[in-house]
């Protein structure tokens, strides 16, 4: 194996490093967020000869250095498989890319090596492949795709692809960059609408905190102590106060069953993660639209049912309410008595929702449906109106908007 490079000629070391880098790039391609610092760690670890020429050990070491969460292990495995299956069957020399063939390095090559390189014709081949790919792209897009069809007015070149692509015609420096253009989504992670993770969620929910002092007086009250000490003519008089706690109260209503099943696991996890932030956080479940009762557990057994009337009496109106649901249903399920798909409801969902909103004035609706689709569902428009436009997408942007709104009002 190529991992133990102590006695290798320089060009081979450079090749090994280059392979590590392309391995690293494969990882990133699979969506792992490993950074350069971590790659350097791996290099350092290899330098220290912690492992000896075994792919299995290399696998463990690379994972140790480059992956920071067990949920990412799978991605790593797939990337590793892809990369190393390729590597094992490939001739090393065939992998030599152009950019490390620096003059200094070429001097290290023997005549034989040089001949081998030349015979492979690596660069030309790469170029040929690239042209081929471009051609496919062009054909695909020409097939009635609006993008290309607009011809002259589009920002794209005469051939219907990105101007970067025109560099195909040039020999040399251009190709590598041009290849990447197509599947480059470098800045995807900066997208504000990117998926939420636990941490983003917790940070957003933090804005909701309202601190209050309750419980035992264990913390030194500095202002109180200074005041009291002054009153005692300089004799120390310690004053204590209770610690600050987050006093915000939140009720959450989850839509489960039917169309929400795709999202609900995700939603629940997100909010369960937030649970540690709040002392007063209660979960309830409903199906499509809240009617006369909701449930405490997601199994929605009869024993777990809580009537809305009871709920309104139990929880004071200073609770903030968050609905999580896709609001995607038949419009009659909201507006008509008996509209529920599960039981006969004497009063419409609209009536019950209005009752809830009349009691808890501080409410928002989070909708995991992509916002771009909202216009296609009549029921979402109805719900949006009922919620007085307090419906937000289940994205970082939407969530902070919702939280801002909740914390503005008291």
């Amino acid at each position: 194996m190529w991992l133990c490079w102590k006695n290798w000629p320089l060009w081979l070391v450079a090749l090994a490093v280059d392979m590590l880098i392309s391995f690293f790039l494969t990882l990133r391609k699979y969506g792992l967020k490993s950074s350069i610092t971590e790659l350097l760690d791996l290099l350092k670890a290899l330098q220290q000869q912690l492992i000896f020429a075994s792919t299995d050990d290399f696998y463990l070491l690379a994972r140790l250095c480059l992956v920071k969460d067990e949920s990412q292990y799978d991605k790593f495995d797939r990337a590793f498989a892809e990369y190393f299956e390729g590597v094992e069957s490939l001739d090393l020399a065939a992998l030599i890319p152009d950019h490390w063939l620096l003059p200094g390095l070429i001097r290290q090559l023997s005549e034989e090596d040089k001949a081998k390189l030349a015979s492979l014709g690596g660069l030309e081949q790469l170029l040929e492949q690239f042209k081929q790919r471009l051609k496919e792209q062009q054909e695909k897009h020409a097939g009635g795709n609006k993008w290309i069809g607009t011809g002259g007015s589009s920002p794209f070149g005469a051939y219907g692809f990105h101007p970067e692509g025109i560099r195909v015609g040039q020999q040399g420096s251009g190709q590598r960059r041009a290849v990447k253009v197509w599947d480059k989504r470098d800045f995807k992670d900066f997208d504000q609408n990117a998926e939420l993770n636990h941490r983003a969620m917790q940070l957003a929910l933090r804005q909701l905190r309202r601190f209050a002092r309750t419980g035992q007086a264990t913390e030194l009250d500095l202002n109180g102590t200074i005041k009291a000490t002054a009153q005692q003519a300089g004799w120390l008089d310690l004053q204590f106060q209770p610690e600050r706690h987050n006093a915000v109260k939140v009720l959450m209503f989850f839509d489960i069953g039917g169309s929400m099943d795709d999202y609900i696991h995700e939603c629940e996890q997100l909010f369960a993660a937030a649970r540690t932030e709040f002392k007063h956080l209660e979960f309830f479940y409903f199906h499509n639209c809240p009617y006369e009762q909701v449930w405490r557990t997601h199994q929605r057994r009869a024993a777990d049912a809580v009537s809305i009337t009871q709920l309104l009496q139990t929880y004071h109106s200073d609770y903030k309410v968050i609905f999580v649901g896709d609001a995607t249903m038949g419009p009659y399920e909201i507006t008509y008595p008996g509209g529920s798909v599960e039981h006969f409801n004497p009063e419409s969902g609209e009536v019950w929702l209005k009752r809830l909103l009349a009691h808890f004035s501080n409410a928002v609706w989070l909708n995991p449906q992509p916002q771009a689709w909202w216009g296609h569902y009549h029921s979402i428009a109805i719900m949006q109106k009922l919620m007085q436009n307090q419906m937000y997408g289940m994205t970082l942007d939407g969530l902070s908007g919702a939280i801002r709104n909740l914390s503005k009002r008291h």
Partner: protein, 281 residues
């Protein structure tokens, strides 16, 4: 290899590599894994095998990063000032070193265990970034700079209650302790109970793995629960045949309280056993 399995502690090769890499490259090692897979135990064993001190910093929800560095006891200084004590002139009398300080200034490279870092506030790991990176910090009250004599071996455990910030993760090595397979588990059990009868062990492990195979359990039993249970089985002198008898106590294993910590899980298991019996009839 710096650290290997000992008589009482069975170390998987994966974990051994992780620990050795962290020790050699002087980086913190973040360990995650199901509760009861020996995360905390690892640090103890590592310290014992290196013959050095273990400095245990147990994190709670109220822990602050500053407490790990030092605390300035302003109140007692104020009181001493009032009483006209001699000590009051020297501010360093009122600086109490925290766990990190102790680890930095230890004579021999110690093992610093930051246990259950996910229990703390969400900003806690970020507050420790610089200190773990540079292994030094300033004491503002005295203008002193505390730097590590030698970088302590830092082991951090997390139970995944909170996600840790990326910047923090980037500075650590990460290893997830997988639940041991049957062979490893047998080794672990034998390390704790060298005299255990083979038939009891086989029967107990079978029951244990069957139980873990039930997906719907809220809390799957782990190694530490298995060890507790075996201890009880031995103390009560339960015969292997009782373990194999599926009808025992309506399908529940003897002394199930050591394995199942949730009454819903007990109910679930009873139901499953009932269904199995009915299907068998």
């Amino acid at each position: 290899m710096i650290f290997q399995s000992t008589e009482h502690y069975i170390l998987s090769p994966e974990l051994a590599l992780a620990v050795n890499a962290a020790v050699t490259l002087e980086k913190p090692l973040l360990i995650k894994g199901e509760p009861g897979t020996g995360k905390t135990r690892l640090a103890e064993e590592l310290a014992a095998s290196l013959g050095t001190d273990l400095i245990n910093w147990q994190i709670k929800s109220t822990s602050k990063a500053q407490q790990g560095l030092y605390e300035y006891d302003a109140v007692s200084r104020l009181r001493d000032g009032q009483l006209g004590s001699e000590r009051v002139a020297n501010i360093s009398n009122y600086i109490k070193p925290g766990k990190l300080w102790t680890a930095f200034t230890a004579a021999k490279r110690p093992v610093l265990l930051i246990d259950e870092i996910d229990k703390a506030d969400i900003e806690f790991p970020n507050d420790l970034l610089h200190e773990l990176d540079r292994m030094s910090f300033d004491v503002y009250e005295t203008g002193e700079r505390i730097s590590a004599q030698q970088r302590p071996i830092v082991v951090i455990t997390s139970n995944n209650e909170k996600e840790l910030p990326d910047a923090f993760l980037r500075r650590c090595f990460f290893h997830y302790i997988r639940f041991p397979d049957k062979d490893t588990l047998t080794q672990i059990v034998l390390a704790h109970f060298p005299t255990l009868q083979a038939d009891l062990l086989t029967a107990a492990l079978e029951v244990f793995f069957d139980l873990r195979a039930v997906d719907a359990l809220k809390k799957k039993p782990s190694t530490s629960e298995l060890l507790d249970w075996l201890k009880l089985l031995l103390a009560e002198q339960i015969a292997p045949s009782v373990l194999q008898d599926k009808q025992h106590q309506g399908g529940l294993m003897p002394l199930y309280g050591a394995l199942l910590k949730n009454e819903q899980d007990v109910a679930l298991l009873e139901k499953l056993a009932f269904m199995a019996r009915r299907a068998g009839r």
